[in-house]
Symmetry: C2
Subunit: 711 residues, 2 copies
């Protein structure tokens, strides 16, 4: 079921004052056009904005040759949108005045808020109070502004907008980084990619990036969205926007900083946003149907292709074939530059089928049977490329056809670029990479509607992003996340004990080791309901690694050894964790299997409940070999996750090793992920480690667990 975007009812009402106001005030407009605070008025006039503009400057009668007003209160009307370009304290006061007057949207340039410690947060509270009380909506603070190129609304202080005319396009861009709106605009211009609007969303103390984009979804002239993300702050609004955009068939392509821990740290220091782990972001964006670009050029050039590639279903059916690319080229070396980064991204190049090769031969195209359709022998001629493309765009084995043209593209586009343009109308997605510098040919391709790329890396990046994109899952996010909102995890040591955890596993239907608890002060071994050898574990709630404090003895062989093990555990825990007394121990049969897996569940601060499958043991951490998805997951998704974890390869029948019960593992992952929608105490984090995977047909068995509740 689709959750509508937050405040959808008011999205239309927001769009006008936000992006197409009939009147604007520039509060703090400077008389010096070279200064940041001098730019908005200059840009508005340069662009020919047709609405009413009110520069506000308390110290001058005129700015840039126009009348300046002493205050917002002094204006002859209440402007729809105020861009506040003053310093921090004056900005707070201006926002308050906007609230009093009934201004609909205020965009705030100043910093000194979210990122500025307690004093900054106190200012944030002041802004929020105005929003809550008056209905004013705020963009920013730290916003370099709001631009609508079709309505000449240039409410920006970004220096890259000092240009006229700026052609309008059909892409809407939103960015956490203010500097990037200028980079997207100017780099797009250089590549013939135009924008309908661009917004620097700043600190998002009120309007979030998702809400701002959602407000534009009604606009038929906007065909897709580019997002530059520094964090997943306000993930719910982003998700709601993504789901609504999917229903409108408007693709979203995002670049997110923070693949490396170093970059995440920088993002923190800069925007005051805490960036989470990158693979959580990856899972979230994928789940929302937001394609992700790894390269800046891929972001800027990728949307035209994204709009042409059909979206796949949210979770692949078992055995569904991966997406396939067919490549035709006049230069094998140049084409291989794209194939390499495509393969690194998991997108394989398919050789043409026998039928396709036969049709190529029938069309007079001589090629060797290879993955690449190399026209070297056929020659760089219009007829060769056209005939080859005609065959390829009709070949059922390809999801996308990539044409790579060599040196002729620079001065002789009539040879191998023009036939690509002639195929622009094909139903099959078609993309082009030109190996030499060939700006005129790139422009011709763009004008014909053929997605094209300046570098092999951006080409591979965009193709992979487009082919991997899936429709968003229509999760009921309100049910999923309601109980998790604004709660924090229990302090360390909190949470249920392991016997209680086993009760939870029983309720979820996850098999676990038979277990009895016995008092640690027994002097005679009790009769066990299962044979020796057994494992003995201290019952200490909330300790993640019982082995680290000597709390586990494995392979206990008989009654005598059992008593010795209990004694050893008590002594060891008392020594290594002073103050902790082991009152009871758990005894379980030794469970053997083909391998060990970690499956986990936790509520991420930004994106809510997620589920994880990882290789067990130290390799989980060393190789970061794990698959993440938003919870809950279905069986097909759980199977996908298992296939993604390389360390589980040996369990899938590797080099003749026995096959593990991966079906049962998938069932267990699905069951664990149900915590996201379960009633009862809210669970912050749950981990089964290890989950023993037995041979196919014999199931999986949990032998240790850790659960943390929210408080």
């Amino acid at each position: 079921m689709l959750t509508p975007p937050n405040k959808t009812a008011s999205a239309g009402a927001l769009a006008r004052p936000l992006l197409a106001p009939l009147s604007v005030a520039i509060v703090g407009q400077s008389n010096d056009a070279a200064k940041t605070a001098g730019r908005p008025l200059k840009y508005l006039r340069q662009a020919g904005y047709a609405g009413r503009v009110y520069p506000v400057n308390g110290r001058r009668d005129t700015v840039l040759g126009e009348r300046a007003w002493p205050s917002l209160t002094a204006l002859p009307e209440v402007p729809e949108h105020a861009y506040i370009v003053t310093g921090t304290q004056a900005a707070v006061e201006a926002v308050q005045e906007c609230g009093r007057l009934g201004v609909k949207v205020a965009t705030v340039l100043a910093d000194g808020f979210t990122e500025a410690g307690p004093a900054g947060l106190a200012r944030v509270a002041q802004l929020r109070e105005v929003v809550d009380r008056t209905g004013l909506r705020i963009v920013g603070p730290s916003s370099l502004g709001v631009v609508n190129l079709r309505a000449q609304v240039m409410l920006t202080a970004n220096a890259a907008f000092d240009e006229h005319p700026l052609p309008a396009g059909r892409i809407f861009a939103a960015s956490h980084s203010g500097g990037m709106i200028g980079a997207l605009l100017s780099r797009g211009l250089a590549r013939g990619i135009g924008f309908a609007g661009l917004v620097s969303v700043g600190n998002e103390v009120d309007l979030s990036l998702g809400e701002i984009c959602a407000a534009t979804l009604d606009d038929p002239a906007i065909e897709g969205y580019l997002l530059f993300l520094e964090s997943l702050r306000h993930a719910d609004a982003l998700r709601a926007f993504a789901l609504a955009a999917a229903q409108c068939n408007k693709p979203i392509l995002a670049y997110k900083l923070g693949r490396s821990p170093e970059a995440r740290e920088l993002a923190v220091s800069h925007t005051g946003a805490l960036a989470g782990e990158d693979d959580v972001a990856q899972a979230f964006l994928a789940d929302c149907g937001i394609a992700r670009a790894d390269t800046l050029d891929g972001l800027i050039e990728g949307l035209p292709l994204l709009g042409r590639v059909p979206v796949r279903a949210p979770a692949a059916a078992a055995g569904a074939r991966p997406p396939r690319v067919g490549v035709v080229t006049t230069t094998a070396g140049g084409a291989t530059m794209v194939v390499d980064p495509l393969a690194v991204r998991g997108i394989g190049i398919e050789p043409p089928s026998a039928g396709t090769l036969a049709r190529l031969a029938a069309a007079g195209i001589e090629v060797k049977p290879a993955r690449l359709i190399d026209l070297t022998l056929a020659g760089t001629r219009y007829e060769s490329m056209k005939a080859a493309l005609d065959v390829l765009v009709a070949a059922p084995e390809f999801d996308l056809v990539l044409a790579v043209v060599g040196s002729s593209a620079r001065f002789h586009p009539e040879l191998a670029v023009k036939p690509i343009i002639a195929c622009a109308g094909a139903a099959k997605p078609l993309a082009a990479f030109l190996v030499p510098d060939a700006p005129a040919a790139l422009t011709a391709l763009s004008q014909a509607g053929v997605p094209n790329f300046r570098t092999p890396e951006a080409c591979a990046d965009a193709i992979a992003a487009a082919l991997r994109r899936r429709a968003p899952r229509m999760l009921d996010t309100s049910t999923r996340s309601a109980k998790h909102r604004d709660r924090t995890s229990a302090a360390d040591g909190g949470g249920p004990d392991e016997l209680e955890n086993y009760g939870l596993l029983d309720r979820l239907g996850i098999a676990r080791a038979p277990t009895i608890a016995i008092h640690a002060d027994v002097t005679r071994a009790p009769a066990l309901p299962f044979p020796y050898p057994v494992a003995v574990k201290a019952m200490i709630a909330g300790i993640a690694h019982k082995t680290d404090v000597g709390g586990v003895v494995l392979g206990v062989a008989d009654d005598e050894a059992l008593l010795a093990a209990i004694h050893q555990i008590r002594a060891s825990v008392a020594e290594r964790q002073p103050g902790t007394t082991v009152v009871r121990v758990l005894v379980q049969p030794m469970i053997s299997g083909l391998g060990e897996v970690l499956i986990g569940y936790r509520v991420d601060r930004d994106v809510g409940p997620i589920v994880m499958v990882a290789a067990g043991g130290v390799f989980t951490e060393i190789y970061r070999d794990r698959a993440l998805r938003l919870a809950p997951v279905d069986l097909a998704t759980a199977q996908e996750m298992i296939a993604e974890v390389r360390g589980l390869t040996p369990l899938a029948g590797y080099r003749g090793l026995p096959v593990g019960d991966l079906a049962a593992l998938a069932q267990a992952v699905v069951a664990l992920s149900r915590l996201a929608v379960m009633d009862g105490p809210a669970i912050q984090e749950a981990e089964i480690n290890p989950l023993i995977v037995r041979p196919a047909g014999l199931g999986v068995v949990a032998v240790d667990t850790l659960v943390k509740l929210m408080v």
Copy 2:
């Protein structure tokens, strides 16, 4: 000791006819300038080549308005260089004629040689025969030609050279792919990067890429080399060139296709070269001091930076600090786009030291103490950027300073780009990335000699390539590789048996398990020189995985179990490998340790002897977690290799686990690598798997080996 490049004595003699001939013939020159065979004459005339040009065309009296000659024999002089642009068979005949006449260099365009099966290889033999007999040197076949932009030598059929004037620069480019010389030229032009010359080396049946480049090393106008590699064919010549270039202080930057297996397969089908594994190539290039770019833009833009970064020593001393980058920016989001791919490449961003922060404060630059020096608070002004750069280029903690400028760079380079230019003369390497599209500012930076980059990915790529580059090791390659040349590995099943292998380990000084051999038909267990439990293994020479045929029983507890194990092994091997009878078995004590490692040695077809360290078990293959180096290696290099293998992290004191004897492991790696310089039978491949790593101080013990000899 430095091995001189092959044929160094003749390098000077080669350079003239190859790159600056006083007379050229175009054999097969067409009258149609639009055809491939019509281009060379057109380009030569367009460029204003001052030498004598002889078009040869057997069917016409004139071509493109010039007199055509019926044959090479008919020319009034013997041309120094002939570019043969005919079809395949005519090209063979033309080469033979060149040989007869005493032409010095022939460049051959036609394909149909190395990549064309037995008939093609027969033609290769014909060409080689001419070379050997007459001293003619051949470029190609499949060569798109030889270009010298300073001498207007345009012996090329590449369509991207149809341009005049083409400014000459100071970079020499050589490419396995003919198409790429046009891409490098045109993309370089667009970025203000100029070339002295470009050569499409083709199939290298005579002159290899390394020899061609080496012939230009005397030229003081050439400052560095760009290589586009599809394989490591003729690695010895490439290495010899790289070592000589290092002595001339001329940097080499290479792009090599084939990071993915898919791309390597394409390279094979295209050029007839067998491409090896990419990490062998990585190890080889690093060992030769050749920097490697991952991106096309990084290749084209990277050399100016490479030339300014001092080269590190071949192997890092233990504890040597990794290279460090300091970053100053007017836009944190834009700068982080570079930090992210830098961090992914293992290059960390260093926060300024307390001293540097103090000097920044003294210069009036207000920044938060963070990894990035973010001038947002200080403002985008000339004075801020200049003062910050002055402090940073003098700060000892940085090996390189990167300046990232935001939107102002597009229309106001005087604010934050000009101060970078003002620091161009600093001793510290300095690089610039401009976040918006800002071609004029990029040009200004280039003209001032500040390395600059159009994309964040190319910037990170080039910085990482430059900082990771090391001086080549001055191995004595003749000793190292003489015995390996042109030999092939023994057929499967060849090679010494395991006892003989242990003798080899003893000679190398690598500890191994005490071992006795006993006949498999014993009926009474012999007295063992070590206690039970023991391991029992079939003695079958040349079987890589004895366990796969049931040839190993571990943990044998007593005499009775020993006899049973021998019986089981005989039966199992007989069943799973019909025809093989187990005559003897080996018995060893069970050796336990903290972990298992694979160390290996093999002679790669292209690059010669290499040594490998890998995590043991199935994870070696699953994670491809291994370190490779050219053999022999010294102790510091062995330590580096061990540190690179992530799966060995637990042995280095991970989360409180006991520490393994990594010093002994490093010694064993050094010892195994000595096979490369050892006398005796030539060893194709040797593997110790597992090598048991015992606790620190207790050494390592080899418990299984495999050795293949050359035949």
